[in-house]
Symmetry: C2
Subunit: 211 residues, 2 copies
């Protein structure tokens, strides 16, 4: 007989992160999560108090798991050129975004469309440090053209491309979409495209400024 894997608390976190990622906070039901976790609905109250706390804990649980798999610098050494380090970060981002078993980004994506109080927390604590590092890299890449606004814009351009992959992936897996033409299944190829596309954009801004 196939037995339940692990303790109830952990099974809840695992099931919750997946279900929240697939359906969002509001649409997910405690009953559904507990079914996945093979436990009784009262266990959410017992282990976490309420649905929202489970949501927060499940996100942290997923995020920490994923960070061990994908170092945020993409494995590029500190002394490498700014372009290389930027490329490393883009690849790491897209790697996490594209990973079928990565739920923290799927949840962030939903949060950006429907903020709950989770987003404000994690944005400050977990995301902002990453963001500042990327801004610093962009500043270096842009050279003299690096006004505050330009840096922000380039950051937006890059993050937008990474998240777009997430959205398309999500739309395709949604039940309402039998078959959408775009094929972005090869995420490393897409990552290389984003690197090339973005570095070219940055170069153009940098050189334009010199004339």
């Amino acid at each position: 007989m196939k037995t339940k894997s692990g303790k109830t608390r952990e099974r809840l976190l695992t099931a919750a992160s997946r279900i929240f990622a697939e359906q969002g906070f509001q649409e997910s039901t405690i009953a559904g999560i507990c079914e996945q976790a093979e436990t009784n609905i009262a266990s959410v109250n017992y282990h976490f108090g309420d649905k929202e706390t489970l949501y927060l804990e499940a996100w942290r649980f997923a995020f920490n798991q994923e960070l061990t798999l994908y170092p945020s610098d993409g494995g590029i050494a500190e002394h490498a050129s700014a372009e290389l380090r930027l490329a490393g970060r883009i690849r790491s981002l897209i790697g996490r975004v594209a990973d079928e078993n990565s739920y923290s980004f799927a949840i962030i994506n939903k949060e950006m469309a429907q903020p709950t109080r989770l987003l404000a927390d994690i944005l400050e604590k977990e995301i902002n440090p990453q963001r500042l590092k990327m801004l610093a890299l962009l500043k270096e890449c842009l050279g003299q053209a690096a006004t505050e606004q330009r840096i922000q814009y380039c950051h937006t351009s890059i993050m937008g491309q990474c998240f777009q992959l997430l959205r398309i992936k999500h739309m395709q897996s949604a039940k309402h979409f039998p078959n959408h033409p775009s094929d972005l299944s090869d995420s490393t190829a897409f990552a290389e495209h984003v690197v090339q596309f973005s570095l070219a954009g940055i170069q153009a801004i940098r050189t334009q400024h010199l004339t």
Copy 2:
């Protein structure tokens, strides 16, 4: 005495498009919409049958209004160069996305994170034609480098940037975010950035292919 503006049905559509854009389908309540529209909750059933039909109709209502304000080609003539026409489309897109009173894109943005059956409908009927036109332009801009995959990737890059503006705007206006650093309020400046950034990316792919 300030009287209600227009007929009930239209007031419902106006209120619904705004509220659905702000809160999403699930989080919006019929009671809230009817309060905005200054009518009784039973009027939704009377005029539309149910909440979902109101949602669909409200989206179409908003979309059609916005199309009259922002022609999708950005006002660029057919015989202009592909780059110019692409730039026109990007500007038109960002114009609509950034417009405070444009709700159809805000709703699409939410749909992409939380699809209901609305998205499949409009994607096919309203969005796909626009998408095909942009793909054709990209094919032209990319020249010999225009493999099917490259075209898709560039399309994703451009759309991702446009939608990122939407997300940042939305996050800033959400109650959970007192003040996020990014200042993207100048949407035309951001549009020019996306045009420059993207055309440079496309150029790089085009010329790389020639070597």
